[in-house]
Every structure is written in structure tokens, then in C-alpha cells.
Amino acid sequence: MKNFSRKQFLKTAAGAALVMATRVFSTPLHAADKFFREPPWKRKKPYWGFAVDITKCIGCGRCADACKTENEVPREAFYFRTWVERYIIRRNGEVNVDSPNGGMDPFLPPHDPETVTKSFFVPKLCGHCENSPCEQVCPVGATFKTEDGVVLVDRKYCIGCRYCIQACPYGCRYFHPVLHVADKCTLCYHRIKKGLNTACVEVCPTGARMFGDLSDPKSAITKFYETETTNVLKASMGTEPKLLYKGLDKEVR
């Protein structure tokens, strides 16, 4: 102890701090990203997933309207938790996308239908990504993924910095003009936990929207995930959304 100089003490302290810091930062991250590599019966129960069959969507916009009603989303045309886009692809390769009031207003017929080679509707909503960018960028932990795989916003804890709105590659978040917090699809968490359908699935007249428990190997959604030829949006970003599209065209962004 007698020869323990100040310099030596500081050196030892710095070393100890470094060791502690390494331990803190090397803790493994959330284990949820292993989800898709686990067979269904090993997944946490329940574990919610969503699917959209583009070949069934008729673009009526009931889903967008029902979502606004159920979740008290402001009626102005900038705020949507879900909306329907129409893609029009022409012979010369031109692609037009429109979504009048999120699909709640009628889609007007194109002036030059003879140039159109194909056209279809794409309903959009939060994919509740396994590797959700919005969750990762939140500086205070106000956006989080529940144990059953739903990405939610803590309205009391959100500081309204809008970072998550920037981070979402799918544009699925907006800034709530009244509550002054980030807002997004909750997968109607207040409904599905009581055994009800999400509002959009409830009103969809053609069954183009589907949701269910991925941890149940016999559920319709698991069957859809396992047997249909599907794709996700922006797969290259590695977000692993639990929102699968059947009949997804390469032009859809």
C-alpha cells in the first residue's frame, strides 16, 4: 500500500472501469430476432403476425376508415395508421401511386386506361418488425416490442422527438397533433388481447387482411406464412416485418 502512487492508482482504476464497460456493452441484445429461425412450437405464446393478400384487395378503404374510428386517429388526411395505395403500371414502364385520403375517398379512374398494363391496391400498415428501426432509435425507451411481438408506443414516456418517424422505412408513424407523441398501429392490442379481431380485419369485406397467432402451428396465419408464396416490403433492410404480402409486385415500395 505504501508504494501505491497516485499514478498507479489511476491506472488501476481506469483498467477496472474499462473491464466494467466492456462487460456492459457486450451483453447480448434482445433474443427476439431469433424468432424466424425457431420452429412455431418453440415460439412464445401467443406471437402475433399479420398478412395481406393483394390479389383480394378491392381498394374500398373500409380498413383505413375503421382504423381511424377505432383508434381515434385525427381525421385530417396526413394521419394514418393504415392506408390503401393504388399502383398503376403503364406499358412504357411508368408507375403511378395514389392514395386519396388514405384510400377512404374514391380512386378516380385513369384518363388513359388503354395504356395501363396492370393495376392493383396495396394496403399498408406497421409490420411490427422483429428488428424494428423505430424501437432501436428511441432515445428514452418509449417505443418497445411487447412479449407477444407487437411494437407499441408509451404515450406517457414519449418525448415527441420524432426520431422514430424518420427511422421507419415504411412511413408507418406520424406525430399525433393533439397528444404530441409519436403514434402508430398497435395491431389493435386493446382488441386482440380480448379475443376480438383488429378493426381493419373486422371490416375487410374480402378477407384480404388476416392476422393471428404465429406460435400456433394450426392457425390460419401460420398456414398462410408457411404455404403461400409471399414477400415482405424492403426485405434488404433486414427489418424482418411480421407483415407478409401475397401477390406483391416488384414495383411496390
Binding site: 374500398c60 380512386f107 386493446h190 380480448k194
Partner: protein, 150 residues
Amino acid sequence: MKDAQHLLRVIIIFVAALVGFLLVRSFLVPESFGKLGHYRANAVDDVLALPRHYAGEPACKKCHAQQASDKAKSSHRHMSCESCHGALQAHVDSPKTVKPSKPKENEMRAFCGNCHGKSLSRPAKFPQVDLEEHNRGMACNQCHQPHQPK
């Protein structure tokens, strides 16, 4: 002896800083934060407490069995009552005071046309009519019953 005193001082400063840090932290970190992950576990309950506006088809069937059984045999069988009649949890809660809405006669062509109007974007197999040509001016339910469409 002098070294030990130095060490003691440093230890006191460290302990004081640690106590101060923990004290401030206990005020700033909300209850239930970190229980399930890097978030406030009670936030889940906040979301679950949000009000519901759509009752769901099973609630409708309890009283409107006739309409439900008509619909179940028709090509509208996969549709929910609230697709056309709107959100009706309020009607389920107080059936006497809150009455469900029906599409009005003069709005019916637009209402039905929302799904059945001809559009090149709709799946070809889906039943569609050209609203400009198909019996102009007539309300849809003069020929088609929405609970038993043909």
C-alpha cells in the same frame, strides 16, 4: 499513513457520488421500467385500457339472428355487419339510445359502388358494375338485398 488518508478521501467521494446517482436515478426512472425490457412495463396496460368502438360480429348476432342467418347463406357471408353499418360498440352498450346507421337511399349507389363500382384495379373475379350504365338513378336495394345479395 498519508496514502491511506488519500484513499479514504477518494472512497468517500466515490460513495457520495454513487449515493447521489442512485438517489437521482430513483426519481427519474419510472415505476416498472426494465421489468420486461428497456421500457415501462405498465405502458402495456395503458394501451389495453383504450376504448373500443367496433363490437365485432358475435355481439351483433346475439340480437339480430335473422339478419345474421340471411347473411350467412349469401355471398356477403364473409363480411362483418360493421363493414356497412359502422362502429357499433356504443349501440351494444346502450341499444335503446344509440341506433345503427343504414346507407341512405340517395347515397346508396356511391356506398355500394365503393366496393362494386367497376375499376381496372380490382381483381377481375370480383363482382363489379359500371355505375354510369347500370340502371342509372335507381337505388341498389330496389333489386338487390344487401343481406341476401344476388
